[in-house]
């Protein structure tokens, strides 16, 4: 039989045949590994989860014209530079002065789906406009004109050109589908689709700006903006109050999770060290015997370290599974969405668990080598 085989046979026998004692040690390692794995999962998933939360606060990138005019095609081309999976929504806007009941009002033409995605906090009493002949009215406008959902509105547009012949009014009719409440300036506008806006104003492709909601960190966003600006068709700028506060909250949250992880690691080490000290104290006679029959200090260290590391391995495997379950529960309860399973975390947890167990076993194992066989084996 090879020495290595006997070594493994001994440490497995020690763990398996002393189950009741070793289960306590295994539990301390497994709990530590569970919390470690769970917290690291959360640490890496927080940006994604928080990013999704922050998308509720509106657009974080704005496209404007880099030259005289901004065309819808240029907006679409620039938006295509951002990966689809990170793009929450793109809402192009075109604003025009129109008249309702002969009173000037600002009309905004947009893509309702895009606006819904970039401004999820907008509250609509009724329904969003979806197609031709439908309109959504800001709460202030609705109040001034005593407009309610279901009303038919006549909207008049007068082109501002030098050609007086072309200055004839263009009139369109819209059904009000809903009243928009935002608490902001958006309540002063009326909203229609870009196609209706084009039909009303005789212009087809011009927009004033586009709002984008992108699920990415501040650095990635800056990268996308630089890439878009380099193409020179569109000027992309970040909505600093959103991206900066997102970055600040993320940094603080990640720092908090990191701090808790370090504290848990330290507590696990203390726990494992205490357990190993108890294991060594309980086995002083056995250590004395091993030394008496010829075990060197190095052999004793190897055997106890082997046991400790095997505990770390088992604890790490149990911990990486339970850690994912723990992180998933936290994710579902706090962020309301599932966690992404990161397979790399399994070997990392196992290695960390082995390392932590190994390091925390050093002191107790060192004391094991100081056992004097003559003293502990003395007959009664």
């Amino acid at each position: 039989m090879k020495k290595r085989k006997m070594f493994l046979r001994m440490i497995f026998a020690s763990l398996l045949r002393r189950r009741s004692r070793m289960i306590v040690a295994l539990l301390s390692v497994a709990i530590g590994a569970t919390i470690l794995s769970g917290l690291v999962s959360i640490y890496y998933d927080v940006p994604r989860q928080m990013g999704a939360q922050f998308r509720n606060y509106g657009a974080n990138m704005i496209f404007t014209a880099s030259g005289d005019e901004l065309e819808l095609a240029a907006v679409n081309n620039a938006a295509a530079l951002i990966p689809d999976e990170e793009k929450v929504g793109v809402a192009p806007y075109r604003y025009e002065n129109v008249r309702v009941r002969d009173i000037p009002v600002v009309a905004a033409g947009t893509d309702p789906e895009g606006a819904k995605a970039t401004s999820p906090y907008w509250s609509v009493d009724g329904n969003w406009f979806t197609g031709a002949g439908e309109m959504m009215v800001g709460a202030n406008v609705a109040e001034s004109f005593r407009i309610k959902t279901g009303d038919m509105l006549e909207v008049t547009y007068t082109p501002m050109t030098d050609d007086s012949a072309a200055d004839a009014d263009n009139v369109s009719y819209f059904t009000v589908t809903g009243i928009l409440q935002t608490g902001g300036s958006e309540e002063n506008y009326i909203y229609m689709t870009l196609d209706d806006m084009s039909a009303l104003t005789y212009e087809s492709d011009r927009v004033d700006l586009a709002e984008l909601s992108i699920s990415a960190g501040a650095e990635e966003l800056s990268g996308y903006a630089d890439k878009i600006n380099a193409a020179d068709d569109v000027h992309a700028s970040l909505v600093k109050r959103v991206t900066a506060s997102e970055a600040t909250v993320l940094t603080k949250l990640q720092a908090l999770v990191l701090l808790v992880t370090i504290v848990v690691l330290a507590l696990t080490m203390i726990c494992v060290a205490t357990t190993m000290t108890a294991v060594v104290a309980e086995r002083r006679k056995e250590i004395g015997l091993r030394k008496a029959i010829g075990a060197s200090d190095r052999s004793i260290i190897r055997e106890f370290m082997g046991e400790g590391m095997l505990l770390g391995l088992f604890g790490g495997i149990v911990g990486s599974v339970l850690g994912f379950v723990f992180a998933e529960q936290v994710s579902v309860n706090v962020f309301g969405s599932s966690l992404i399973f990161r397979p790399l975390l399994v070997p990392i947890t196992v290695i960390a668990s082995i390392a932590v167990t190994g390091i925390s076993s050093l002191m107790p194992i060192k004391s094991a080598t100081e056992v004097d066989p003559a003293l502990v084996l003395k007959g009664e």
């Binding site: 039989m1 020495k3 006997m6 001994m10 008496a292 029959i293 010829g294 060197s296 084996l377 007959g379």
Partner: protein, 230 residues
């Protein structure tokens, strides 16, 4: 040259002389008993001969080497290579089977050999108990496993500390018979005991009193067999 020679050995703890100018010789293949009351220095002498302690003064020559001058590390090597230890409390590793306990001594000495370890258990009549844990064995059986472990590496000396102290008469007889067998095969035996019946089985009995060798009795009618009074 004697296999073991103690020359004017002292072991002093403060004012206490646990061993006080002890000199003795043990020849190869000899069976010697060391007797004495509690506190006479038996255990101290056993620890020094067993390379688990060093004398305060004097020389201890084992196979010509003065072990009183050796480092702790070298003493471990000498103990592993030359001495087989048997204890009153058996001291088996409780989570290893009888066979694995014997193989443990092989593991530290050279290379574990399951077949050889099984043969050693066969010699002490425990081949059928090889897979049992110490808790599943009687005291006598545990002591026989201890004997098998002590002899597995063919040591120069088997050093037994009260080997029958925890055994009933039947098991005491079995263990003494095993010693007789080992002696016949040429093994040197040093048995520390306070039991006169066990001590008298040996070829020679040394009596310790207050750390000094007070008496030496040679067994003229040596048979290697135990005779109980009752």
């Amino acid at each position: 040259m004697s296999l073991l020679e103690l020359k004017n050995v002292y072991k002093i703890y403060g004012d206490l002389h646990a061993l006080d100018d002890v000199s003795l010789k043990v020849e190869k293949g000899e069976w010697v008993s060391i007797m004495g009351p509690s506190g006479s220095g038996k255990s101290t002498m056993m620890n020094i001969i067993g390379c688990m302690d060093k004398p305060s003064k004097g020389e201890v020559l084992l196979d010509g080497v003065d072990i009183s001058k050796e480092s702790k590390k070298n003493l471990t090597t000498i103990r592993r290579d030359k001495i087989g230890l048997i204890f009153q409390q058996f001291h088996l590793v409780n989570y290893l089977t009888a066979l694995e306990n014997v193989m443990l001594a092989q593991y530290y000495h050279s290379m574990p050999d399951e077949k050889e370890a099984l043969e050693a258990l066969e010699r002490v009549g425990l081949a059928d108990r090889a897979k049992h844990l110490p808790s599943q064995l009687s005291g006598g059986e545990q002591q026989r496993v201890c004997v098998a472990r002590a002899l597995i590496n063919y040591p120069e000396i088997i050093l037994a500390d009260e080997p029958t102290g925890n055994l009933d008469e039947a098991n005491e007889e079995i263990v003494v018979d095993l010693f007789h067998k080992l002696h016949t095969e040429g093994t040197t035996l040093i048995v520390v005991t306070h039991d006169p019946e066990v001590a008298e089985v040996a070829q020679r009995t040394l009596v310790l009193r207050s750390g000094k060798l007070s008496k030496e009795v040679v067994n003229e009618n040596f048979t290697g067999k135990i005779h109980f009074d009752s």
